[in-house]
Amino acid sequence: MARYEAIVIGVSAGGLQALSILIPSLPENFAVPVLIVLHRKAERDSFLEEHLDGLSQVKVRVAKPNDILEPGKVYMAPGGYHLMVERGNILALSIDPPVCFSLPSIDVLFESAADVYQEKLIGVILTGANSDGSDGLKKIRALGGLGVVQDPETADAPTMPESAISVAGADHILPLDEIGSFLTEIIRGT
C-alpha cells in the first residue's frame, strides 16, 4: 500500500505567488491528488486556476461537488465555499458559516481529509496572515499524517506558518522553494 494517498495545502496572504512557485514544481505523473484552500473572495471566474494550470505540469481545476479525486490533479476550493473530502475520495462543498473568518477555511478541508485518509495524508501550511489551518494540521498529525510548514522566514506573511508550528508542531519546516521537490521525493518514494 502507498504510504500517502493525498496532499492538502492551506495558504492565505501571499498565496498566489507561493502557489505559482510550488505547483509548477510538481511533475506531470504526480501520484496523488492535491487539494488546496487559498483564502479568496467569492467570484464567478476561474482565472486563478487557469493561470496556475498554464504554469504547471499537473492539472489545476476548481473543485466541484461530486468530483472523484484523481492523481496528478490539483483541486482548488472555490471562493465562498468550504471544500471537504468525503469517504470514497469524493469532493463536497458547503456554504456553512466561515471558520477562522474564512470561507473557504483550511481547517475544514484539513479535518475532513484527516478523517478520510488518516496517516496517509500530508498537510502543508504556507504563507498567511491568520491562524486558519493550525487546528486542521494538528488533527492531521494526531491521526498519524505528515505535517509540513513553510519556514516563516521565507513567508510573505509569517503568522499562519508560525501559528501552525506553535499549535500543531511540524514534521518538516522548509523554505518555500524546497517544498515542491520534497513532496515530489516523498510521493515518488511511496
Binding site: Y81, D96, Q118
Partner: protein
C-alpha cells in the same frame, strides 16, 4: 479502537437515534458537513464527545430543535448571486407571463431571504398578485424566521448592492421599514407566500409548479439523495417548467439529466424538456 474511529461510531449512533426517535433521516447527507455540525453542537453544549449528546437527544425533546437549528445554518443573502436574479427577470419571467397563475416552489428556503427576493422581483414585474410561492423547509425554526421576514439591519447594505446588480427597478429600502436593529419586510410581499414544512428526504412532490428554486441544498446531499430530490422536482414541474439550482449544482451525474435541458448554464437554470 482508535479515538477517531470511536467518534465515527458515536456519530452513527447519534444520527440513528435522531432517525428512530424523531423520524429525521440524515444518513444520506454529506458526511463531512454533518460531522462538523454535530461536533460544533457538542462543543456548544459544553462536551468533548458526541456520545455526551445521546441522553440529551433521547430524553430532552427541546434538544432536537437545537440540533435541527444547527443543521440548517448556512450563509445566505437576499439576491444572492445577483446575476441569477437578473437572468430570472430578463429571460425566465417573460416565459412565465403567459400563464394565468404562476406557481413557484422554493425548496429548502431556510430563513427565507431568497423567497422575499423572488417576491420583490415578481412585484416589480407586476406578477406577484398572479403568483403563489410555496416556501418549504424541514426546519420549523427557520420557517418561523422566514415567515416573520425580519432580518438584521446591518445586512441591508450588502442586500441593496445585490438588488441593484440584479436589475432592481425601485429603491430597495421601499420594501422594508426599520425597527431598532432590524429591517422588517413589508407584509404585502408575503400575501401570496405559503410557508410550510416539507422534508426533501421523505416527503412527496408538489403539483404543477412553473418554477422550482432550490439553491445550495443539493450540495449537502449524497448522490443518491440528490437524484431523489431532482426526481421530486421533475415530478413537481409542469410542462416546460424551470428549475434553478445553486452555482455549484447541476442535473448532470443524475439519471434525470435527460429530463432537463440547460436554459442558462452560468446561472444554473434548467428547463423541463
Amino acid at each position: 479502537m482508535k479515538d477517531h474511529e470511536k467518534e465515527e461510531l458515536e456519530l452513527d449512533v447519534f444520527l440513528t437515534l435522531v432517525h428512530k426517535c424523531y423520524g429525521y433521516d440524515f444518513s444520506q447527507y454529506a458526511r463531512a458537513s454533518i460531522k462538523r455540525r454535530v461536533q460544533k453542537l457538542t462543543l456548544l453544549s459544553g462536551h468533548k464527545h458526541i456520545s455526551a449528546l445521546l441522553p440529551k437527544i433521547l430524553y430532552e425533546p427541546d434538544f432536537l430543535d437545537e440540533f435541527l437549528r444547527g443543521m440548517s445554518v448556512t450563509v445566505t443573502e437576499m439576491f444572492r448571486d445577483p446575476w441569477v436574479f437578473k437572468m430570472l427577470r430578463e429571460k425566465v419571467i417573460p416565459a412565465l407571463r403567459i400563464f394565468p397563475k404562476i406557481n413557484i416552489w422554493h425548496a429548502g428556503c431556510a430563513t427565507g431571504e431568497e423567497v422575499y427576493s423572488m417576491a420583490i422581483l415578481l412585484q416589480e414585474e407586476g406578477l406577484l398578485e398572479y403568483s403563489r410561492i410555496y416556501a418549504t423547509d424541514f426546519n420549523d425554526h427557520s420557517l418561523r424566521i422566514a415567515h416573520n421576514g425580519i432580518y438584521p439591519l446591518e445586512n441591508m447594505k450588502k442586500y441593496t448592492q445585490n438588488y441593484i446588480q440584479a436589475g432592481g427597478k425601485s429603491s430597495f429600502s421601499d420594501y422594508y421599514r426599520v425597527g431598532g436593529e432590524f429591517a422588517i419586510f413589508d407584509n404585502s410581499l408575503k400575501k401570496n407566500i405559503v410557508f410550510t414544512n416539507h422534508n426533501l428526504v421523505e416527503d412527496q412532490a408538489f403539483g404543477e409548479m412553473n418554477l422550482v428554486v432550490c439553491r445550495n441544498v443539493l450540495i449537502y446531499f449524497n448522490q443518491t439523495l440528490q437524484s431523489r430530490v431532482l426526481g421530486l422536482f421533475r415530478d413537481s414541474l409542469s410542462t416546460r417548467g424551470f428549475l434553478i439550482l445553486g452555482e455549484k449544482e447541476t442535473t448532470r451525474f443524475s439519471k434525470l439529466d435527460d429530463d432537463f435541458e440547460v436554459f442558462s448554464s452560468r446561472e444554473k437554470i434548467f428547463r423541463m424538456k
